[in-house]
């Protein structure tokens, strides 16, 4: 069985050639991050599993259309994102995602690994994530879960680069405020 060590070594060409081992490695690599992303957006276990399944089926069908193999991860998340939008559309929540954050895009600050959360802050962190507006939550999850670049996040969500910068900035600002407040309380 193929083992996925680094995102750069994804067996995409082998999967395109129809090798089941390659597909298994790719699905195994992305199943949990995809599920986390989808679940934190739709907040429904069965709907999230359905979206992950549909995403994998679409990936298996349309992989020959992928031009750059190294973009497999962002391509997969963009399929899942589209399916989330379809789900929101059914529930009339699509506008929540398309509404832009007002104000000029500030400079992008730190990497997700630089933000460390203490064990006692985890519940609060999860609560805050779920309270964020859909648009901010989406970009922040992509930033946290897969450490996608701003350009990749813009491609996945179909948004402008400036909009993505702005959304991540405001989402992280709120998160930092929470962490500081919790630290004061302790």
């Amino acid at each position: 069985m193929l083992v996925v060590a680094e995102p750069e070594q994804l067996p995409v060409p082998e999967a395109r050639a129809g090798k089941p081992d390659a597909w298994e490695a790719l699905f195994k690599r992305y199943q949990l991050p995809l599920y986390v992303y989808v679940f934190e957006l739709v907040h429904n276990e069965q709907a999230s599993l359905d979206i992950v399944q549909e995403t994998f089926i679409s990936a298996a069908r349309y992989l020959p259309g992928l031009r750059e193999d190294e973009k497999f991860g962002s391509w997969l998340f963009s399929i899942a994102h589209q399916k989330c939008i379809q789900s929101w559309r059914k529930h009339g929540r699509e506008r929540e995602f398309t509404e832009d954050q007002a104000g000029a895009p500030p400079e992008f600050d730190d990497a997700p690994s630089e933000l460390l959360i203490r064990k006692e802050q985890e519940e609060e962190f999860m609560r805050l994530i779920s309270q964020l507006p859909l648009a901010q939550r989406s970009v922040l999850l992509l930033h946290f879960v897969e450490d996608f670049s701003l350009e990749e996040i813009a491609e996945i969500t179909g948004s402008q680069l400036g909009t993505v910068k702005s959304r991540i900035h405001y989402a992280k600002k709120g998160l930092r405020k929470l962490i500081e407040e919790t630290n004061h309380d302790l």
Binding site: K28, V36, D147
Partner: protein, 143 residues
């Protein structure tokens, strides 16, 4: 201390068993179908259609006005080409050598015109040469 990624993934690890089941099901059902469809000629036509769409999107659509102009120019050239092919036929028809029947008819018409205009001068046939039947008759009439 944990990174946000670690917290998020740990929160949902309990879903892994169901995700594994989904993965196994897709590997068992979707991939053989995909392998079968790859061998069909339909897949080839699909890739041709994709290539056509790509060509349309990347080559034609960005400069569609230029392509429309070129198409119009080509249309005009084609029309001109077709009409210029017709004209030599007409010219050939006009310049084709007249046959003997037409010559005879022309000659008769000329004589008739002279007759109607009242011209009594009819060139006499040189002696010893038998004039045509029509001229002989005219001579009898004029006499």
């Amino acid at each position: 201390m944990k990174t946000p990624r670690e917290i998020l993934l740990d929160r949902h690890r309990k879903a892994e068993a169901r995700l594994d089941a989904i993965r196994e099901r897709i590997l068992a059902t979707e991939l053989p179908v995909k392998a079968d469809s790859r061998s069909l000629p339909l897949d080839h036509s699909f890739s041709l259609a994709v290539a056509g769409m790509k060509l349309w999107r990347e080559l034609i659509l960005p400069c569609r006005r230029i392509w429309c102009g070129l198409a119009a120019v080509w249309l005009v050239i084609a029309v001109m080409n077709v009409t210029s092919k017709d004209s030599p036929k007409i010219a050939n028809r006009r310049t084709s050598p007249p046959n003997s029947e037409i010559l005879m008819a022309t000659r008769e018409q000329r004589l008739l015109r002279q007759e109607l205009l009242g011209s009594s001068i009819i060139p006499a046939a040189p002696p010893g040469v038998v004039p045509p039947r029509s001229e002989r008759r005219e001579r009898v009439l004029f006499a």
